[in-house]
Symmetry: C2
Subunit: 156 residues, 2 copies
């Protein structure tokens, strides 16, 4: 790590949607799935509203001192019966802007999520990372995550 960029983590706002989609699209997997455009497709704003309405989901961004958005992460708090009724945290859509990698921004975001999930009563955080994302897997292992599960998906 060359230097650490201190960021602040805050709830995403409607006017962050463009920056978030740009990060999701700037990726070997996401590049084929997202659709950029001006104006942004309405589907993204509709999804943002569904996220905002859900009290168990927090979509956050990391911003630097000038207010530039450098990363994003979605934390879902999932109640459930197993593990003696402990809630689980699920991390999704964790991204750091390409020009800002290796500065500890992802680590600050994940640590925010761990703190938040514990405060909300979670005993576990889980995530799926694509088989091809070996750097991400190493990153999460460094933060204490274990490769304990197989992540399986079906797309329609």
């Amino acid at each position: 790590m060359t230097s650490v960029s201190k960021v602040s983590i805050r709830r995403a706002r409607r006017d962050d949607v463009g920056s978030i989609i740009a990060m999701l699209a700037d990726d070997p997997l996401g590049g084929t799935r997202e659709r950029l455009g001006d104006p942004m497709p309405q589907a993204y704003f509709d999804a943002f509203e569904r996220v905002e309405r859900d009290p168990n989901i927090q979509l956050v961004v990391a911003e630097d001192g000038e207010g530039a958005v450098l990363g994003c992460l979605q934390l879902c708090i999932l109640p459930g019966l197993s593990s003696q009724g402990a809630s689980r945290g699920l991390l999704e859509d964790v991204r750091v802007a390409k020009h800002c990698r290796s500065r500890g921004i992802g680590e600050q975001m994940v640590q925010w999520a761990v703190t938040e999930a514990r405060a909300r009563g979670c005993k576990l955080i889980e995530l799926l990372t694509h088989n091809t994302r070996v750097d991400a897997q190493r990153f999460y292992e460094r933060l204490g995550f274990a490769r304990s599960h197989v992540g399986m998906t079906v797309r329609f």
Copy 2:
């Protein structure tokens, strides 16, 4: 498969909590995590109420013609921005009672979840299954799921 037992899938009720916990506990991994007792620990009922209050989570059971609970599954519908704002379905706590395995009950539950997730606008269903659950992995592959991701967890 010796024979198929046709089951009906319905929302879990408070008086199913005992049957669900018994299935979660009757398992090499769950056995160490759950706590049975009479009365059932209150934590399970508190968790059941959190699940019931969440409009994006459905905890369902499979019951036979006599009303016996033979399986359970939790489906979470997760809104999010990625994949053009498509929601994702997350399957958790899928269990079939030990004496009823290999009768197509798990398959009926997962097919219910796929139908429900599609009806709720999901383009993807995802799940984590522990590395040791090789039978479960084969089961999901048979139903069209791919081993596309690494499932990573951290417990507190």
